[in-house]
Each structure stands twice: as structure tokens, then as C-alpha cells.
């Protein structure tokens, strides 16, 4: 947030910058208008922080995620393929033309390391993450998302993601509420996991560092 404000401070845009979100949020104007990214960050940054490292554990970090992945999620929120109480209120305010730039912006932000974890729980999670659960045919997370959680363009980065968010998403995949996994693989995997296993994996994910550049 601070970053975005700093960039436009002193310019005549400052007034507009505060005006536009106000206009967009008013019930009169319900459809999106294209605005410059610095201004758009006032909206996105409210929940995800303007550097994509959200301070609220229920809201995902977007920093460092693959741009195509973010873009697809935005489209899925727009067309209802992915549902979220928070995003369903926000997404109609954003013009589809902005999706690409927003995705590119958050993708380029530097991810922050995850916070403190319950070491015992994280160790249980590491076992599942690296080896899977052979007895119940849960594949190792590392198979697709890499040992370090860096992911690829097909499988999103999950390193240092908030555990609360990861738990929620895995539970949503498990119940089928979230069904926008392109290959339908996450639903299959999450269905084979119980909540205890999901919590353990989510705890470990927080500690992952992603690709070291």
C-alpha cells in the first residue's frame, strides 16, 4: 500500500486515485473501468498487500506466483468457475483488460519467507509432502510442486503460502467446492487426505523457500 501511494504522491493523480476506488465501490457503478495498476493496487492491496505478501493468513500471498496462474484464477473468479466470498465482490470492479498486467505485477513481486510454525506438525507434513501417503494412495506433493514448493507454469508455487489459506483450499478441493484445477488432479488428491493430514502439509508448506535465485 505504501509503495503504491509513494509512486503517485505529489501528482495530480492523487485526487483521482482516491476518487476512482470510491466510485467503483459505490453501488451506482457496478461494472469495471480500466485504471492504471498503481491505482488498482489500492483495491487488491487491501487484502493481498500491494507487494502481494498478504498480512492476513486467510488471504493468499500472490507474490512470485506464475503470471499465467494468477491470470487464470482472475478469469475463473470472473466467470464463476472459482468461487470466493471475498473475490466475488471485488472482481466485478476490475476490468478484464487489467488481468494480464495485474498477474504480471504480482508474479514479479518478491515472496516473503513464511512465519513461525509448529515444528512437530511441519515435520509430519514434510513426510507427506516428500513421500506421499502410500497406504491411501496420496501422491507426494513434491512430484508436481517440486521439493522446494517452487512449482512450474502448470502447477502453482506453494512455497511460503499461508497455512490457513492452504488448508482452506485443500478442504475446498476435497469437498469439490473448488473445481478449477485444470487437470482435476488436486480434487483427486485432496479427497484422499483427511483434515489432520491437510493441516500437517499446510504447516510444512509455510517453511518452503521456493527456488533460490
Amino acid at each position: 500500500m505504501r509503495l503504491a501511494l509513494h509512486r503517485i504522491r505529489g501528482s495530480w493523480l492523487v485526487g483521482v486515485a482516491f476518487l476512482i476506488p470510491g466510485m467503483l465501490l459505490s453501488p451506482v457503478i457496478t461494472w469495471a473501468q480500466t485504471v492504471p495498476i498503481a491505482e488498482r493496487l489500492l483495491l487488491c492491496g487491501g487484502c493481498h498487500n500491494s507487494d502481494g505478501n498478504s498480512a492476513i493468513p486467510e488471504n493468499p500471498n500472490l507474490s512470485g506466483l506464475d503470471a499465467e496462474y494468477i491470470h487464470r484464477q482472475l478469469q475463473d473468479f470472473r466467470n464463476g468457475t472459482r468461487k470466493s466470498p471475498a473475490m466475488s465482490g471485488i472482481i466485478p470492479l476490475v476490468d478484464e483488460k487489467e488481468f494480464e498486467a495485474l498477474a504480471a505485477f504480482f508474479s514479479k513481486q518478491k515472496p516473503k519467507p513464511g512465519g513461525a510454525v509448529d515444528a512437530k506438525l511441519a515435520a509430519q507434513g514434510k513426510e507427506i509432502y516428500d513421500e506421499g501417503i502410500v497406504g491411501s494412495a496420496v501422491p507426494a506433493c513434491s512430484g508436481c510442486h517440486n521439493d522446494d514448493g517452487s512449482g512450474t507454469e502448470k502447477y502453482p508455487r506453494i512455497a511460503s503460502q499461508h497455512s490457513a489459506y492452504v488448508i482452506q483450499q485443500l478442504m475446498n478441493f476435497k469437498s469439490g467446492e473448488r473445481a478449477n484445477d485444470v487437470r482435476a488432479v488436486m480434487r483427486a488428491v485432496a479427497k484422499r487426505m483427511n483434515e489432520k493430514e491437510i493441516r500437517a502439509v499446510a504447516e510444512y508448506v509455510v517453511t518452503l523457500k521456493g527456488a533460490q535465485e
Binding site: 506421499g132 501422491p139 512430484g143 508436481c144 487437470r183 488432479v185 488428491v189
Partner: protein, 242 residues
């Protein structure tokens, strides 16, 4: 004789109880072996399509990512045999198995979601097959106790298993007979068991016939022998001598 039967029956019971996690796989296929109109090796439309494509090992390595969670990054599977070793498997075999799991000919609930159309494309199957054929691992496979080597060898060769799967367990690329040398003991045992019981959906009818009269101990002995064979690709000396 009565004693032997009793021992056989007890042995028969044990693995079925311990292998409960795999019971889901032991479901008779409605499209496969034992169903009306099942012909082993009759090409499915998708198999015709895959065979027309050129596989690429580099692309295959990336596409294999979706398989690594179970078959492991080196494609060596899990040594207890839950997941088979795929390194060096013939491309034709990989194509046959993936497409037949996907078509429901071979029932495999564990693998189903990962073999489905939206998870792996027809081109990716061709790519993965080429990648696996040349994949190598440094990890040891899961082996039997080694107690029944001679017995296993005799059963394998005299039972004419080697007619198709080869004396070195090398299989046959052209006929899509799998290489079985140095496969995990647990996997060999389980699949032979399924084939005997008629629940491996894409079984070759000749193999079901050949394995029919084998006891559970016979199967264990053969699994033991096969699991202790060296990787067929590493026995070049024997190949040249032939």
C-alpha cells in the same frame, strides 16, 4: 498332500488381509478380461492415435511430473511394490497400460484420476512412454527374500512364462509384453495374483491360463526370482551370447 493344501490355504489368506489397501484394484473389469468381446491386444482408437505420434523424451520428462508423486522423480516406484518401477519399460507397454487404465479396461482406481484425459493428453502419453523407455535409476528395486531362486527360475522357464517375457525378463517391445526383470517383488506378486484371479482387466488370456494352476507359493517364488534378475538392459553380455 493335505498338509500342503492347508499351508497353501493359510498362505492364500494372509496376503489378502494385509493387502487390503489394494483391494480396490481387485475389481473385475466390465470392459476387460472375462467380459464379452474382450480381445487382448486389439488396438483401442486412442492407441492407434498415440502410435502415430512422435514421442519426445524431453517433453516426456516434464509431462511425467504428474506421475512423479507416486512413481517418484526417478520413475523407480516404491520398493514395497505399491507403485511399480517404470524405468526402462518398453514404450509400447507404457502406452498400452496408460490408455487401457484410462479406457477402464484395466481397473486401477488409484491411478484413474492421473491417467484421465484432462490429466494427461494423448501426445503426453507418447512423450512419457519415450522418456520412460530410456529412464534409469540408481535405486535398488524391492526384492524377495531370495529363498526360492531355483524354484522360481524353474517355474518361470518351464511354465513358459519366459516364452513371452524372455529369459532375462526383458519382455517384447513389438508385442507390448512388459519387461519384468528387477521389478519390485510386491508388485510382481500382486499383479500375478490379480491375473490369476482374472481381475487384472487387460490380462492376456494365455497368461491367465498359464498361471492358473500355480500355487501362491509358486507365485512368490517367481516374484522372488524376477525381482532378483538384473535390469535386462544391463545384461548385455548374455544378450550377445544368445
Amino acid at each position: 498332500m493335505k498338509q500342503a493344501v492347508a499351508v497353501f490355504m493359510i498362505l492364500q489368506l494372509l496376503p489378502w488381509q494385509t493387502a487390503s489397501a489394494d483391494m480396490a484394484d481387485a475389481v473385475k473389469s466390465t470392459k476387460g478380461y472375462g467380459s464379452k468381446g474382450y480381445v487382448w491386444g486389439k488396438l483401442l482408437p486412442e492407441q492407434v492415435a498415440v502410435l502415430k505420434l512422435n514421442g519426445d523424451a524431453v517433453r516426456g520428462k516434464e509431462a511425467f511430473r504428474g506421475c512423479r508423486g507416486c512413481h517418484r522423480p526417478d520413475a523407480a516406484g516404491v520398493t514395497d511394490g505399491t507403485y511399480p518401477r517404470l524405468t526402462g519399460q518398453h514404450a509400447s507397454v507404457v502406452i498400452k497400460q496408460v490408455t487401457e487404465v484410462r479406457a477402464g479396461v484395466r481397473v486401477n482406481p488409484k491411478m484413474d484420476p492421473f491417467a484421465a484425459e484432462h490429466a494427461v493428453s494423448t501426445q503426453e502419453i507418447a512423450d512419457i512412454a519415450v522418456f520412460l523407455a530410456s529412464a534409469e535409476t540408481t535405486r535398488e528395486n524391492g526384492k524377495g527374500d531370495g529363498d526360492y531362486q531355483a524354484e522360481g527360475k524353474a517355474l518361470y522357464e518351464k511354465g513358459r512364462c519366459s516364452d513371452c517375457h524372455g529369459r532375462r525378463g526383458e519382455g517384447n517391445e513389438n508385442k507390448a509384453y512388459p519387461a519384468i526383470a528387477a521389478q519390485h517383488y510386491g508388485y510382481l506378486k500382486r499383479e500375478m495374483d490379480y491375473i490369476q484371479k482374472g481381475v487384472r482387466g487387460n490380462s492376456h488370456p494365455d497368461m491367465v491360463k498359464a498361471i492358473k494352476h500355480y500355487t501362491h507359493r509358486d507365485i512368490e517364488a517367481m516374484a522372488d526370482y524376477l525381482s532378483r534378475m538384473s535390469d535386462y538392459r544391463q545384461s548385455g553380455a548374455e544378450r550377445n551370447a544368445k
